[in-house]
């Protein structure tokens, strides 16, 4: 039975990894068609010369950096607050809302944000654009940040901070000099995670983006809808490699020290 189980597991792993591997291999195909004709970097060259893709990639990066920075600060503070104050109305409200936000279907979160923005725009003279996308990204990545930061905080010894307080440190100094440095790997891991989620999101982004804020996933989606091309394979491969490196880095940061 052991042997059968191993074979079965190998098949499932193939199912999980083969599609992306094949996709990556064919991004180096010199032919436009799905027939292997030889190794070539022409699709990668084409990719870097495409102004449309470059603009979308830049938008994605700006959005991901801004949203991640904001979500990291808010999320870390929130996790610290939840760690210090475990019960009460506010922590209870935040915990159940974040939990709910994790399981809310993306499409529901997207349309509700769209409806909300349109309602707010009745009173303010603004339109959909980068800012609305950034706000949406901060919202949906915050739960992941809090989960990871809180997991890290739970491994810390609260008596260290208490010792600092006993020795005369103010609460702020104790937080900054004692708790925050220990929390840092967790925060960095969480931020990397939030970044990857932000840069990859299509469903919510496409609903709340304006004309000037087309992101990379939106371009890839449009290209895929039109039938795809080796160019999409090349972009996809790059994204998978970059995100993969970030995720491994994030796991390392969570696992060690």
């Amino acid at each position: 039975m052991k042997r059968a189980l191993s074979l079965y597991a190998a098949a499932v792993y193939l199912f999980l990894h083969l599609p992306l591997a094949v996709l990556a291999v064919f991004s180096f195909n010199s032919s436009r068609f799905t027939v292997w004709e030889g190794f070539s970097l022409r699709w990668y060259e084409a990719l870097f010369r495409d102004p449309h893709l470059a603009e979308a990639a830049l938008n994605s990066l700006i959005i991901a950096f801004t949203a991640t920075a904001a979500a990291t600060v808010i999320g870390t503070l929130c996790a610290y607050g939840l760690w210090k104050q475990k019960t009460g109305i506010l922590p209870g409200f935040i915990k159940s809302s974040l939990y709910l936000s994790l399981v809310t279907p993306e499409i529901v979160m997207g349309v509700s944000l769209l409806a909300f923005y349109q309602w707010v725009f009745r009173f303010l003279d603004v339109q959909l654009g980068m800012h609305t996308v950034v706000l949406a990204h901060v919202m949906f990545s915050i739960a992941y940040l809090v989960v990871v930061a809180l997991a890290r905080l739970r491994t810390l010894d609260p008596s260290l901070e208490e010792a600092a307080l006993d020795l005369g440190a103010t609460e702020w100094v104790a937080f900054r000099k004692v708790t925050l440095p220990q929390l840092m790997p967790g925060v960095a891991a969480a931020a990397l995670l939030a970044f990857t989620i932000s840069i990859d999101d299509y469903v919510i982004t496409s609903l709340v983006a304006g004309v000037d804020s087309e992101t990379l996933p939106m371009v890839i989606y449009a290209m895929a809808r039109r039938g795809g091309s080796p160019l999409v394979n090349a972009v996809s491969t790059l994204i998978v490699v970059i995100l993969g490196v970030m995720i491994v880095a994030s796991e390392r940061l969570q696992g060690h020290s």
């Binding site: 079965y8 409806a115 989960v147």
Partner: protein, 277 residues
């Protein structure tokens, strides 16, 4: 400067959640009770028509189909995921590597992973090209743009949600129980079906709900792999807010979906009270 008390640390997150999560959901609640506006959007008078329309056989069948697709995907995830979780739990020092191999694809772009299946399945895709060049088929098989492709994409996308909780419960099973079964003469298969499977029931339940929920509300997978031919709840909502411009009805559908998700969560909430948060 004195560190703001815990409550102050929670304040930014609370404001964010109220403004960008709770308020939008409340707006959707309000919109679902209004009428369709003259130029899209919403207007008066108040009406419960959006809710009565949910009982229209056309929309009821979309919900039924979404349930069926989610149920089949969940069953397939279980079929693939349980043996995999069992394999990982029995692989000694390589456990972490094998776990990482399950988790890693999950964190790489969902959109790209869905596109990978389009690349494999479409008429000019890899599978059809291969089969054609080998002379096995004369015409490309219609592999893409059907429910089969959608289910395949969902299983591929959400398999880790099934593996991880099952793995966690199998890991917690007391080894001596399994050894006792073997000592008493049970064959490995009997031990598996009589001891391991029943003891990992909480993990199976949690995994099933965790897979079922995103499958039920899926939008991107049916959209790309179903190619507009497979209308599930997620596509219905998107359509009402974009092309059809019937926001009140789209809101009512969204709320029904949320209600279903919450009911499903309550089913496993009692089992996993600790949770992540």
């Amino acid at each position: 400067m004195k560190l703001p008390a815990a409550r102050l640390c929670l304040l930014p997150a609370a404001v964010l959640i109220l403004l960008l999560f709770i308020a939008p959901l409340l707006i959707v609640c309000a919109y679902s009770l209004l009428s369709r506006g003259a130029y899209g959007g919403v207007g008066l008078p108040r009406s419960a028509e959006s809710y009565t329309r949910l009982f229209d056989p056309l929309y009821a069948s979309i919900f039924a189909r979404s349930f069926a697709v989610a149920a089949i995907s969940t069953a397939l995830c279980l079929l693939l995921g349980f043996p995999l979780a069992l394999f990982i739990s029995r692989s000694g020092r390589r456990k972490n590597l094998y776990l990482a191999l399950v988790i890693l694809p999950f964190w790489t772009s969902f959109l790209v992973r869905t596109y990978a299946w389009m690349f494999l399945l479409r008429d000019t895709g890899l599978l059809n090209t291969l089969l054609l060049s080998l002379g096995i088929i004369r015409e490309p098989l219609p592999l893409l743009y059907n429910y089969g492709a959608v289910i395949l994409g969902l299983v591929y996308g959400y398999l880790p949600f099934m593996v991880l909780p099952i793995y966690a419960t199998i890991e917690r099973i007391d080894r001596s129980v399994i050894e006792a079964a073997a000592d008493l003469g049970a064959k490995p298969w009997t031990t598996l079906t009589q001891i391991v499977v029943p003891l990992s029931a909480p993990g199976i339940a949690a995994g099933s709900v965790l897979v079922f929920i995103p499958c039920l509300g899926a939008y991107l997978t049916p959209d790309l792999l179903g190619g507009g031919k497979t209308i599930l709840v997620g596509n219905l909502i998107q359509n009402q807010f974009t092309t059809a411009r019937d926001w009140p009805f789209g809101s009512a559908v969204s709320l029904l979906l949320m209600a279903l998700v919450m009911v499903l969560l309550l089913l496993i909430a009692r089992r996993n009270q600790e949770g992540l948060l």
